[in-house]
């Protein structure tokens, strides 16, 4: 029985270390990506990084994006458009980036981002836009 307990402890440590590493990597990539730029637009929009082999993109992310209503979503193949993917430090799929009207990255979501989260980020992007307009 002690062998099993030791094995369980080893796996627990590995899982914990992997989770910490993932949080660190995600935070670092987000910090580097916010402010990165792409093409300007008339309204805030979403850059959606996906790929042929991304299942979560099809089963979760695309239905969530479809719920957003009339928002421009630029679908980007992260493998074909590697330069653009690297600019936003895309290390996992899906990745969604909420872009401001002037083409600056405001929010970067690594992994699946549910519709309410994207809606909140888009609302923030629009609020920023109004604040700038009224200033």
């Amino acid at each position: 029985m002690s062998t099993q307990l030791w094995a369980l402890a080893v796996v627990g440590i590995v899982v914990l270390a992997a989770a910490c590493l993932e949080v660190f990597r995600s935070r670092r990539a987000r910090a580097r990506s916010v402010g990165a730029s792409a093409a300007p637009a008339s309204e805030p929009y979403i850059l959606y990084f996906t790929g042929d082999g991304c299942t979560v993109c099809r089963t979760h992310q695309e239905p969530a994006l479809a719920k957003l209503g009339p928002v421009r979503v630029d679908k980007v193949d992260a493998i074909a458009e590697r330069e653009l993917a690297d600019r936003f430090h895309v290390y996992t799929l899906p990745t969604t980036v909420v872009m401001s009207r002037d083409g600056a990255a405001l929010h970067v979501n690594y992994g699946y981002a549910p519709a309410p989260k994207l809606e909140r980020q888009l609302a923030e992007a629009r609020t920023n836009l109004q604040a700038v307009a009224t200033a």
Binding site: T3, Y91, Y112
Partner: protein, 147 residues
């Protein structure tokens, strides 16, 4: 590369099979050590299934028994099978390495097996496939043809 229709229920049954087999070997071996043989057997099943899908035991269980009898409902999704096969192969390789360690260093062998079960569970419950992400990274760096 064009997508195909992949039945995600078959993948879920495969993941459930991995989790159950590893757990039976892990817990059972505490009371009856020969149950450890399930680990190398599972490695063989996963590796065979990666290269010859018709030999994938859990998927065949789904297609031949669970699906026809309506026990598990099909869930077809436009997808590519390659990342899933890659993930399964990766699981098979890790279990094969675990099998080598099971007798001389059982803690290492059991820990590696349990890690495969944990990853299968994460995929089963949350849809996050580490093997698929590794496949994406390898494709991104041009090490495999991922698109």
């Amino acid at each position: 590369m064009a997508t195909q229709v992949v039945d995600h229920s078959a993948l879920k049954v495969n993941q459930a099979g991995i989790i159950v087999t590893v757990l039976v070997a892990f817990v059972g071996s505490a009371f009856y050590r020969p149950l450890l043989v399930l680990i190398p057997l599972l490695a063989v099943v996963l590796l065979l299934g990666t290269f010859a899908p018709q030999l994938a035991l859990f998927k065949q269980l789904y297609f031949k028994i669970l699906k026809p009898r309506g026990i598990v409902k099909p869930r077809p999704v436009q997808d590519r099978p390659e990342p899933h096969n890659f993930a399964q192969g990766m699981g098979g390789v890790v279990l094969a390495i675990a099998s080598i360690f099971l007798l001389p260093l059982p803690v290492v062998g059991l820990a590696l097996s349990l890690l495969v079960a944990v990853l299968a569970f994460v995929n089963f419950a949350f849809g996050y496939c580490l093997g698929c992400q590794i496949y994406f990274q390898l494709g991104k760096f041009g090490l495999i043809r991922a698109s």
